[in-house]
């Protein structure tokens, strides 16, 4: 019970928010807006799952929004040039893998601090996009939106594939040795090394996986409208990191579950829709989200202090 206290608290807050919406703004649960809203939150959730792994290894990746934008534009350009949809989506994944591998090599291979490395790559990809696209929207050919199927089917596929990734990743983190290595690397890299768990290699693969997930997120965003904006990933890194932290991924590494990340994302992503449905001005959105993040970090701080006290 105590082990999952964060998941329970965040889940409880989410349930409270939903109950108050059900009472005061039942329109919130109308089918179509609900599904459109959920589908549009899925790409950010994919990124949050990836960055959760990065944080569990006690690293950070702030370049994921820029990676997302690069992957989206690469896949979009390929699709616009007539490349079939599955291949265009593969381009996004490969591009993401390469960008992730670059981060991974700099952090794990050269031993550079991840905050500095990914800050640099964030700016680089951002500027590449600016030079390349000049801020104009990129129009996608017919047949890209909703994978060329109906809106309902397309949305179901976006939501379904995200949930499938979540289930697979959560299962792997718990049951596979590679999942346990990620936790071990983050809780004590030296102990992991002595136990023969190759923390450097683990860190590299986690950054690479992060890049692939940025590509997956970009592909799942790409299919939701007939155009993409080159800066579509701007600010996404903060959303993803916030969702992970609120969901109980300890910023000190080695702790947290991906189910918590799901709850954290759902809580943060629904603050703004709730404000609109309560007919409140949008000024509160960021303040409330900030407060939620602060509460989560404070709870972490208190936990660590207690642990030290016990020792």
């Amino acid at each position: 019970m105590k082990r999952y206290s964060r998941e329970l608290t965040v889940g409880g807050a989410l349930v409270l928010l939903m109950i108050s919406l059900a009472i005061f703004a039942p329109n919130f649960f109308d089918t179509q807006p609900m599904i459109s809203r959920l589908a549009s939150q899925m790409p950010a959730l994919i990124l949050a799952l990836g960055v959760a792994l990065v944080i569990i290894t006690r690293q950070i990746d702030v370049s994921i929004g820029s990676q997302f934008g690069m992957c989206a534009v690469i896949a979009g350009t390929a699709a616009a040039a007539g490349v079939p949809m599955p291949l265009a989506m593969l381009c996004a994944l490969v591009a993401g893998a390469l960008m992730g591998a670059a981060n991974g090599w700099l952090v794990a291979g050269l031993g550079l601090p991840s905050i500095v490395v990914t800050l640099a790559t964030m700016v680089i990809w951002q500027e590449v996009l600016r030079l390349w696209q000049k801020g104009l929207l990129l129009s996608l050919p017919d047949g890209v939106q909703w994978f060329g199927m109906s809106q309902g089917t397309g949305q179901a596929m976006v939501i379904g594939s995200t949930l499938l990734i979540l289930v697979l990743m959560a299962w792997a983190m718990k049951n596979l040795s590679s999942g346990r290595r990620i936790y071990a690397t983050g809780s004590d890299a030296e102990a992991a090394r002595l136990a023969g768990l190759a923390p450097k290699a683990t860190t590299f693969w986690v950054f690479l996986l992060m890049g692939v997930l940025a590509g997956v997120g970009a592909a799942l965003n790409l299919v939701q409208s007939p155009q993409i904006q080159p800066n579509s990933g701007e600010g996404l890194e903060l959303k993803a990191i916030a969702a992970a932290v609120v969901g109980g991924i300890a910023i000190t590494g080695g702790r947290g579950t991906l189910w918590g990340v799901l709850l954290g994302m759902m809580l943060l992503a629904n603050v703004n829709p709730a404000l609109t449905h309560f007919h409140q001005p949008p000024y509160w959105e960021k303040a409330i989200q900030g407060l939620v993040i602060l509460l989560a970090v404070a709870a972490d701080g208190i936990r660590i202090k207690k642990q030290k006290h016990l020792k």
Binding site: A25, N27, F28, D30, Q32, P33, S36, R37, S40, L131, K134, L136, L137, S139, Q151, N221, Q224, S225, P226, Q227, I228, Q229, N231, S232, E234, G235, N272, P273, T276, H277, H279, P281, P282, Y283
Partner: protein
């Protein structure tokens, strides 16, 4: 060594004077773009070429490939050396280009800005695409016309701190209160200049306000974002979408009947006006300050407010005329 430098300088001087003597006596005008690849500026250039033809002048068009302020300075410096008569510029970086333009002005070149202004003392006039009043009124008037001037409407804006967008929203509110008392503003939501966020905001506005009749998007990513939300909600036609944006980014939605009107000034007319004004200054037909009106060729008589020549009212692109514009 000294001699060789001297001889090179003489040779250069000879080259420069050669170039000068080649001039056919036509006025030469430098037309500076913010960026060469941008459809908006390509369309501005079309207007400038039209004015050059009407006025029989020598027009040189140049600009950085990628909105690079340093490159803009370099081009202006070259034009000063070449001794052009007029420079017409859109400034990527107001402060840095102003220094170069001031230098041009001191060299006796007539400087006019368009689209994005320089500091006031660096140019004589600014060809102003539209006033806040003109833009705000056109947006609310279009929404009123489409909804029969009644019912709820919402605004999707860029950011809550953007000064020019807030100014337009104030105009929209004032005009609505004065002219359209049966319309009601139910929400203003920021999209952080992101199309995807605009789509989410519009989706929420639609479900939170089931009686919504129109969405006005005052920032360009907001227009296609709102349109996609209306389309996904199956409310095409029953909720009208109007906004300020580029025709090219909204063509598909306008043709489908999701977006009813996209509002923008004509970049072609803006380029035409700016060149006309520059040439009129060089010919002494336009006073260097305190003019009240200016007759800009085919555009007719335009108002001058202070040192801004106002292009006039923005135009609305709809399903009928959107294919005539390729920017």
């Amino acid at each position: 060594m000294k001699y060789s430098i001297l001889s090179i300088s003489f040779a250069l001087l000879a080259l420069v004077s050669c170039k000068k003597s080649e001039d056919s006596g036509k006025l030469s005008v430098g037309f500076l773009l913010k960026s060469k690849g941008n459809q908006y500026f390509v369309t501005c250039e079309k207007g400038a070429q039209a004015a050059a033809k009407d006025l029989d002048i020598d027009l040189r068009v140049d600009g950085p490939i990628n909105a690079d302020p340093a490159k803009q300075n370099e081009i202006v410096e070259n034009w000063i050396t070449d001794g052009v008569d007029v420079i017409v510029a859109s400034c990527e970086n107001k402060d840095s280009l102003s220094t170069a333009l001031r230098k041009a002005k001191q060299a006796g070149i007539k400087v006019v800005t368009y689209d994005a202004d320089a500091q006031a003392d660096a140019r004589l006039y600014f060809a102003n695409q539209a006033t806040a009043q003109g833009i705000g009124e056109k947006l609310i008037d279009s929404a009123a016309e489409l909804t029969g001037a009644e019912g709820e409407f919402a605004i999707v804006t860029g950011t809550l701190t953007s000064a020019n967008l807030n100014e337009w929203i104030e105009v929209i509110k004032a005009r609505q209160a004065e002219k359209y008392p049966n319309m009601k503003l139910v929400g203003i939501r920021p999209c952080d200049d992101q199309k995807d966020k605009a789509q989410q905001e519009a989706t929420n506005l639609l479900s939170a306000n089931p009686n919504l009749k129109a969405i006005i998007a005052v920032c360009s990513p907001g227009v296609p974002g709102s349109a996609e939300a209306v389309k996904q909600a199956g409310k095409k036609g029953s909720v009208k979408v109007v906004g300020l944006g580029l025709p090219s980014e909204n063509r598909a939605y306008v043709k489908e009947g999701v977006t009813q009107a996209v509002i923008l000034w004509s970049p072609e007319d803006l380029g035409y006006l700016a060149v006309q004004a520059g040439v009129a200054l060089a010919k002494g037909e336009l006073a260097e300050k305190d003019a009240k009106t200016f007759t800009a060729g085919k555009l007719g008589e335009l108002q001058v407010e202070g040192d801004s020549i106002i292009l006039g009212k923005p135009i609305a692109f709809d399903a009928k005329n959107i294919d005539d514009y390729d920017f």
